[in-house]
């Protein structure tokens, strides 16, 4: 009976609604993530169109603020995080030789919370008074004063957090309990390692955000004054609690991309990963340090000199394990038989852009320097280099790397390379000039600006439209790959190594019903 049920593949809508299969859920996550990327991308075009020239021409300032806020929330919680959870769902069981995730029903629930959270987040924009306009950091008193759209957002954040927590518990339970015989922790692929550490970051950080959001809701509706100075509270408390979540969140977005780079670079350099052990320890060190640097986001609120020094030095310390990782990737490529297929281009591009974002991060870590750069476009440039440059590049790298395995078809290599180069050039035109805007003093989150900032803003707008236009190539490529194309081999790439490549392309609905042995 169990076998008969096991062999049953539901079809149509019920297959997706009731699925407990890790591959189906992975696909759902990825499709959801890319739909949200389109929504967030369109919002970024509203922002950039308004900033094409000084003065107000397209939208009113309040709507502009809503766009900057919801664009960030959609991209972080709707695109980047679910995108990597999708990759984890598809890949982790196949990479550790497990038949599925450890808690498949909870896996279904983790995903199906997301569309409802996304609907709440978007619906908030259409409520009386509009959506949240306090920026994604939701600092009170602004966030305490917003209309009902802000409540929609806060509830949505609760749901998104729940989904992430459930997903993380599942990932940890899978990795710790379902590895194939012989696969010790130090034999796991780096993508699995980075996800194990990321899941612990999520477990520790998301409940803190939930605590902060709950306090904000009670301040708004139940008469408490956690963040209300008039009632004896302190708005700076929000900043401390929020950034205790917010800084690890950056690494939640970036570490799985590091895992992707660590899978792809050895494949196309045809060498084993240089310094595997040090990669694991560096990832763990980054995760630990991410919890003791939060106040570098808020130097300007004023804190004792000892606090400023501590957070400055602790932040700078992160450059050490990060440097180890970049060194290892470069050493893996050194004297390798390198080829530059699309996944490799995205991986190298990602390491390059992340390194620039890391360097501007070091500049921002220096307290007296941050007093100049705080809340300027320099910060916008910095975090887009980190989050777009590492996370989104990592996501694209992963999709190109594994889509032949998932679909059984090769993608169009020429179009893939066009997608990469157009995005890379568009991204650079968009975000590199923003460094100069910030250094010259242009504040972030404003719909208008002084005349001298016009030229760099116009570069930025042209780049943004170019970047978004390039993504049509990706959607065309991905859909064409799902529908057909030249057949992919089981191994797909010549230089690969790992359990997922021992399965057929596409893999069977239930992979590894008999656990493989790892030597």
């Amino acid at each position: 009976m169990a076998t008969a049920h096991h062999a049953d593949h539901p079809t149509g809508f019920s297959r997706w609604l009731f699925t407990t299969n890790h591959k189906d859920i992975g696909t759902l996550y990825l499709v959801f993530a890319f739909i949200m990327a389109v929504v967030g991308g369109l919002m970024s075009l509203v922002i950039r169109a308004e900033l094409w020239q000084p003065g107000l021409q397209m939208v009113d300032p309040h709507f502009f603020n809503q766009m900057t806020t919801v664009h960030a929330l959609v991209m972080i919680f709707g695109f980047a995080m679910p995108g990597f959870v999708g990759l984890a769902n598809w890949q982790i069981p196949m990479m550790i030789g497990a038949p599925d995730m450890a808690l498949p029903r909870m896996n279904n629930w983790s995903f199906w919370i997301l569309p409802f959270a996304a609907i709440l987040l978007i619906l908030g924009l259409f409520m009386p008074g509009g959506g949240p306009a306090a920026g994604w950091t939701l600092y009170p008193p602004l966030s305490a004063q917003g209309g009902i759209g802000t409540d929609f957002t806060l509830l949505s954040i609760h749901l998104l957090g729940m989904s992430s927590i459930l997903g993380s518990i599942n990932i940890i339970a899978t990795i710790l309990n379902m590895r194939a015989p012989g696969m010790t922790l130090m034999k796991m692929p780096m993508f699995v390692w980075t996800w194990l550490i990321t899941a612990f970051l999520l477990i520790a950080a998301m409940p803190v955000l939930a605590g902060a959001v709950t306090m904000l809701i009670t301040d708004r509706h139940f008469g408490t004054s956690f963040f209300d100075a008039a009632g004896g509270g302190d708005p700076v408390l929000w900043q401390h609690v929020f950034w205790f979540f917010g800084h690890p969140e950056v690494y939640i977005l970036v570490l799985p991309a590091f895992g992707v780079f660590s899978q792809i670079i050895p494949t196309f350099a045809r060498k084993t990963l240089f310094g595997y052990d040090s990669m694991v320890y560096a990832t763990a060190s980054i995760a630990f340090l991410s919890f003791i640097v939060w106040a570098h986001h808020m130097y300007t609120v004023g804190m004792p000199m000892a606090g400023e020094l501590f957070f400055m030095y602790a932040t700078m310390l992160i450059a050490v394990p990060t440097g180890v990782k970049v060194f290892n990737w470069i050493s893996t490529m050194w004297r390798g038989s390198m080829t530059f297929e699309t996944p490799m281009l995205w991986a190298i591009g990602g390491v390059f852009t992340f390194t620039i974002g890391g360097l501007s991060g070091l500049m921002l870590a220096i307290t007296p320097v941050d007093f100049q750069y705080h809340d300027t476009y320099f910060v916008v440039a910095h975090f887009h280099y980190v989050i777009f440059g590492a996370s989104v590049f990592g996501l694209f790298a992963a999709v190109y790397y594994w889509i032949p395995k998932w679909t059984g078809h090769m993608y169009n290599e020429t179009l893939g390379k066009w997608h990469f180069w157009l995005t890379m050039i568009g991204f650079t035109i968009t975000f590199f000039p923003q460094h100069f805007l910030g250094l010259a003093g242009m504040p972030r989150r404003i719909p208008d600006y002084a005349l001298q900032f016009t030229e760099f803003n116009q570069w930025s707008t042209v780049g943004a439209f170019m970047t978004i236009a390039a993504q049509f190539l990706f959607f065309y490529l991905a859909i064409r790959c799902m529908k057909g194309g030249s057949k992919a081999t089981d191994k797909v790439w010549e230089g690969t190594d790992g359990l997922e490549w021992t399965l057929s392309s596409p893999p069977p609905y239930h992979s590894f019903t008999v656990a493989p042995k790892v030597k």
Binding site: T20, I172, I203, V208, G211, F226
Partner: protein
């Protein structure tokens, strides 16, 4: 996936891991809330 792919001992370990993680999540949530109340 069905139960037959996972033995009982493994199932117990999975539940133990998930349970311990749920406790950790609750502790983190409560400590954030107490930080607010304490302040």
């Amino acid at each position: 996936m069905t139960e037959k792919h996972i033995d009982r001992k493994q199932r117990q370990r999975i539940r133990l891991t998930a349970g311990a993680l749920f406790v950790l999540v609750t502790l983190m949530f409560v400590s954030a809330a107490f930080l607010g109340i304490g302040a």
